[in-house]
Amino acid sequence: MLELIYSPAWFYGKDTLIDLISAGVLLLIAAFSYRYYLVKPEQRNYLHLAFAFGLMAAAFGAKAVVHGFMNRFITTAQEGVLLVAPEQFHASPNYYALFLLYRFLLVFALYWLYTIYQSPSRMNLLLITYLLFISTFFTKDSYLVFHLTAFVLTFLITATYVYRYRETRNPVTLLIIVGFGLLMLSRLLFIFVGVSPLLYVLAEVVQLAAFIGLLASFVRTFYHGKKTITY
């Protein structure tokens, strides 16, 4: 029996590049947020944001490594879908560890980002972390549950930013809404990749657009600093 990877053959490898770009953008935002925290330690949200974006960067980095790793085991391609021999595929514990790490880190990071705005109690934080953990590691339909959970979390994050934007009308917040809105859309598309391999391509492209949106929001903060101060 062969295992399917929902990607057209011509797209394979390009998704790895998209994941690396995504990780790069997230790492950049995390690094700057941490730098800002060092300047203003009383604003702990910088640290939380750096942590959340750092975890997301690690998640996409892990996914890129997994895709690169899987590349070694691809045996054939049929009707635009790549096929992998599972006995080789499952033989490596590294593959599973990294893949599960990617899933858990991403949903946990999204939840952590959400908690910046919702401030749950410590007990609730532990409970949700536990639920995210078991839904990642012990669910039969883990693929569906993972993308659905990520979709719900990105929806809640986007809704939070929309709510804040209605009060502030800040253009940077608007770009962040676009970024997380597209990330939410990509999660939804990933759920339906079984329908057509092209949906996988679309999901990856939408994900790339999401991170370009987040990068644009970050660049905009630099532009603001430069515009305010000329010397």
Partner: protein, 90 residues
């Protein structure tokens, strides 16, 4: 009610005031414009001078506080931080 200014807000205000007067500002003027007590101002000026963000010069008998390039760069960083903070709606 307006919230209490944080340390970085006060530094930002001082640097912003000095940036608007590149030729320099008398310490008393800075104190009034920055809305600071004498003690506070001396404390912040000591810190900013040590970090190289401002320098003290003399024009005749007057002592003037002048912002340095490093100070202007730091003020820009603070503005970036503000935009970042407001964008992410902390």
């Amino acid at each position: 009610m307006e919230r209490k200014r944080s340390r970085i807000d006060i530094i930002s205000d001082i640097l912003g005031t000095l940036l608007a007067k590149p030729a320099g500002l008398k310490p008393t003027h800075l104190m009034y414009k920055g809305n600071l007590s004498h003690g506070q101002m001396q404390q912040y000026l000591k810190e900013l001078t040590e970090k190289g963000f401002v320098s003290r010069t003399r024009k005749g008998t007057q002592e003037l506080i002048v912002i340095t390039d490093e100070g202007a760069k730091f003020k820009r960083k603070i503005e970036e931080m503000k935009a970042f903070e407001q964008g992410f709606a902390f």
